[in-house]
């Protein structure tokens, strides 16, 4: 059974339909990257998986079950999201923030256990935050905050990990580290990872599958070589690009032509 199946879904917000007739199957153990220009529906597609948008038509299935028939808690045990933006209200510590990722496993009253502490510590280490765990989230940098959000999603220990622009605001070291970590988790633990990216070259290096969205529809889906062609990218992004062979890997390397 596929982990996630999106069957002919049209969805969006009360005034506006963003995605139109999207169909997609996502297999376990793969990194799927959603690409597309601003407003093409990448985030909306992620939100549809969490039943956070109005689905007008079609079905989103998680492990064979329709997402709108699952409780919030059941969804949180299957899917974790590291959002693009989040404005916390009170200055919790990094560790406290990551710990809340365990909520769906513990109910609303039950205290966290030693097992949760271990999982939280592992997530903090994996994202390079162990040193900062007692820092207030109002006192850390934008990149550190982004890693905190990723750590919280990792602490949920779900089979599917969704990351909305996880590398935005991170310096080069952490861009590579986070994406490598995510890819390793996907391959070793059979996790399904869905992420949105703006950097076409990072996508081309790290993705097992790329879905290119354009105006709410899937323009192309497949491996990097299949999707990232000069003609298609120039068309979707409405700017001229050149696709070269990557100097190190067998992946396409995209440069804009000014």
């Amino acid at each position: 059974m596929n982990q996630i199946e999106i069957e002919n879904v049209s969805c969006g917000y009360s005034q506006r339909e963003v995605l139109k007739q999207i169909s997609l199957c996502i297999e376990p153990g793969k990194v799927l990257v959603l690409l597309g220009p601003n407003g093409s529906g990448k985030t909306t597609l992620l939100r549809a998986l969490f039943n956070l948008v109005i689905i007008n038509q079609g079905k989103v299935l998680l492990e064979g079950q329709a997402v709108n028939e699952l409780s919030r808690k059941q969804i949180a045990q299957k899917l974790a999201l590291s959002p693009q933006m989040e404005a916390p209200q009170w200055p919790m510590t990094v560790e406290e923030t990551v710990q809340l990722g365990r909520s769906s496993h513990r109910g609303w009253v039950q205290p966290f256990r030693a097992e949760d502490t271990e999982i939280v510590e592992t997530a903090l280490q994996q994202t390079g935050l162990a040193e900062l765990s007692q820092r207030r989230i109002t006192e850390i940098s934008g990149g550190e905050w982004r890693r905190t959000l990723i750590a919280r999603a990792l602490a949920q220990q779900t089979k599917v990990l969704c990351l909305d622009e996880p590398t935005t605001g991170l310096d080069l070291k952490y861009q590579v580290e986070i994406l490598s970590l995510i890819r390793n988790l996907a391959h070793e633990r059979d996790l399904t990872v869905i992420l949105t990216l703006h950097d076409l070259n990072l996508a081309s290096c790290f993705a097992d599958q790329i879905v290119l969205l354009s105006q709410g529809r899937i323009a192309a889906s497949g491996t990097g070589e299949e999707v990232l062609t000069e003609e298609r990218l120039s068309d979707v992004y409405q700017t001229k690009v050149k696709v070269l062979p990557h100097p190190e890997y067998q992946t396409p390397f995209i440069v804009p032509v000014l």
Binding site: A80, W90, L100, S103
Partner: protein, 345 residues
């Protein structure tokens, strides 16, 4: 991490100590001063003939206990409102629960005014509490609906909420004034009630209000983790597994119930619900599991202190305690506004 949590629990002890000292001072001070040895003696061996025993058991004890419960209740309700609305400036007063309760209580006082002595007859107090509760929940409900209707983006419209709360507070305040204006003979009773006071309160009020305050306060404490999750915003709370709508309603109803019970027995006492959670947050951090019991202890201690001041500063006359808390609270509120402004710069 376990040891850190223990360390945090230890930090709550000074707050408990503060409350204990406030209670003792509150029992000690007054028109007749009770020495600590007299307090101990009469506490352990109450006798019906001794005047000291009577003062202790019938005047001071019910008064400080009620003040502590109302202070704790308002502080917990304030923490809950701030958490659920993700707004550091929210308190029971700003959102309109207090004035809603005041309107309900005023109407009840008016309807019961045929009876000889208002507030002294036991059977009237349940009606007063019920009426205050209904008033509070109606006003908070309307404020909440307005905020929900005006929600345009993904974030809760904090400004709309404050504005709607302010507007409805003014509106219900005006209704209360209108009732007072049209009923001259009730003016003093209603006005005295509105200013907030623990004067002349007995075990009856405690028996009626305290179970409601304890129940709703306890319920809010149980909602600590949902409150923590809500502080990250609705969408994150949803993806972390919280059915936000349901929990928001539970917390709002509990906080409104708590506020209504407090207002019904003591009148409108402002600023404490705002002040205590913020002071506690500075001391214990923002996690609601500690914040709520901490706020409760601090709010209780502060209220007992304010009440003691209110009846000793110009003794034998009393200042309504609402005036004391507002005078203590206003400078703090302004400090908060200024420091928030500095932060955003």
């Amino acid at each position: 991490m376990q040891s850190r949590q223990l360390f945090l629990i230890w930090r709550i002890i000074p707050l408990a100590g503060f409350l204990l000292v406030a209670l003792l001072v509150g029992i000690h001070w007054g028109a007749v001063e009770l020495s600590f040895s007299e307090i101990r003696q009469n506490f352990l061996n109450p006798s019906e003939d001794s005047q000291m025993s009577l003062i202790l058991w019938e005047i001071r004890l019910p008064r400080v206990i009620l003040a502590a419960c109302v202070g704790g209740g308002l502080a917990v309700a304030g923490a809950a409102f701030q958490g659920v609305f993700r707004n550091p400036l929210a308190d029971p007063f700003v959102i309109g629960a207090s004035t809603g309760a005041a309107l309900g209580a005023t109407i009840a006082l008016l309807c019961l005014s045929g009876s000889v002595s208002i507030l002294s007859a036991t059977w009237q107090i349940p009606w007063l509490i019920l009426s205050a509760f209904i008033g509070a929940i109606l006003v908070v409900g309307v404020v909440f609906i307005i905020a929900a209707l005006s929600q345009t983006g993904r974030n809760a419209p904090l400004l709309t909420l404050i504005l709607a709360g302010m507007a409805l507070s003014s509106f219900t305040g005006a209704l209360v004034s209108l009732i007072m204006f049209l009923n001259h003979e009730m003016l003093a009773t209603i006005f005295n009630w509105l200013l907030g006071s623990f004067s002349g309160r007995h075990w009856n009020e405690i028996r009626l209000a305290v179970p409601v305050i304890l129940f709703s306060g306890g319920l809010i404490w149980l909602m600590s983790r949902p409150l923590d999750l809500l502080s990250f915003g609705d969408e994150t709370a949803l993806t972390l597994g919280l059915a936000t709508g349901k929990f928001r309603v539970i917390i709002l109803v509990a906080a409104t119930m708590c506020t209504a019970a407090c207002v019904a027995v003591s009148g409108v006492i402002g600023f404490l619900g705002l002040m205590a959670p913020h002071m506690t947050r500075i001391m214990l951090g923002p996690r609601h599991g500690l914040l709520i019991p901490g706020s409760c202890l601090l709010g209780a201690g502060l209220m007992v202190m304010a009440d003691t001041l209110s009846r000793t500063v110009i003794a034998p006359a009393e200042i309504p305690v609402g005036i004391v808390t507002a005078m203590m609270g206003c400078p703090f509120f302004l400090f908060l506004l200024i420091s928030r402004g500095q932060q955003t710069k």
